[in-house]
Amino acid sequence: MLDRLAAVRGGFLRRVSVDADALFECWSAKEPKSVAVLTRIKDISHGLAGAAGIFGYPHLGNAAASVEEAVTVRLSGAGTRREVERSLERLLTGLGMSCFPQIEHIRRRADA
């Protein structure tokens, strides 16, 4: 049971690693507010919002849903750039706090 749970969590964290990198780049871009970039942030956040709860990370799912909502509002012409950035910061912080140490652990094991 614990092995299977670890396998599931490991699979999710491998995915989160890729998504987090892509989100970080969107967030770090000098001008990350083009429709294409915002749409990409929205798509990644949407997927994370749906998957995180299923994999046992509901708080991460909530943070991702907040990003999706902020970007959706921004794409509709309302909202502010800062609101998108703040929600992304919260999500990336959450990813960093909860996932990256484990992701590093998985990577080290894969490299060994």
């Binding site: 990409r40 709860g53 299923i54």
Partner: protein
Amino acid sequence: MHRYLADRPVQRSRKPPGFALAMLMLVAALGRAEAQRLDGFNVIATPDHAFGSASAERALVAAKRLGATTVAIIPFLWQANLSSPDIRSGNDMSDGALRKAIRQARKLKFSVIVKPHVWVPESWAGAVEPASERSWDTWFSLYRGELERIARISSEEGADALAIGTELVKTTHRAEWTQLIAAARAVFPRTLLYVAHNVEEAEAVPFWPLLDAIGVSLYPPLGADHDKIGRLVVMLAVTERLERLSGRTGKPVVVAEIGLRSAAGAAAKPWESAEERTATADPQLQAEVLADWLAVLDRPAIRGVLIWRWFTDPKAGGAEDTDFTVQGKPAEDVLMCAWTAACRRPHLER
């Protein structure tokens, strides 16, 4: 217990692991943003609701309301038994009916995949295997004729993609596919794919370089109905293998068929039809399994997911129904959530 959110913001100078990979992913992702996803249903016409009818339109509009962007239309071919070389068009969909189906779907702004299936009484396409070299020649010659006919109609009516075959597991090692693909390509100018049966066949198909996309149907055994962790393990393993296959071939993956009956026991044998086993209705199980699949398959390499299935009868399905269709069942909400907006989903049991 992990703490997922913290009060302090991320410093801009702090780069997560995999920075170089992230750059590549971002470039790929932005390019991909313009590529269309193919999410939707395999649509089956029911006797009193032919494609082109007002009722079929109501059913398709209902699918669109869930966020479906794509429909797969299925002309059936037929052969009397597994070793018979005599493959013919079925009588379920005439050429005119196929044209009407594509036109109706396109009028409603769906992307259209035409996906021929081979029907064998009391068996299935994956077991088709002509018994001699002469039979193979005849089978491929007749199959090619049927495919060219379907490809021509699909081209003329503006279908977006054509599957050159579906789950023909015991045929795909044959060299004849190379010429068959060239023949299809000569008639149909847009996306060509083949639909492999599960990831095992997908990994064995030799002709992916000749096609534009990898199609796959996914019906692996998912264990006991209540074993959510067990099925997530299977789903993750399947998805990671598909991602690796996509990476090796450079082709996107379209999950051209996935689903299960809304029936107790369906997770163990997701391919099983209502005709094969009587069972009590369990629409919640169907909804949960599809939610899990959609969450796991939400990866960049997977360019679309087509649910098996959706009927042209707008009143099909419902809470007591035990067929694969998701119509009138909780799975509709799951799909709408996945395809249109954020939603909360069941948590992993600890």
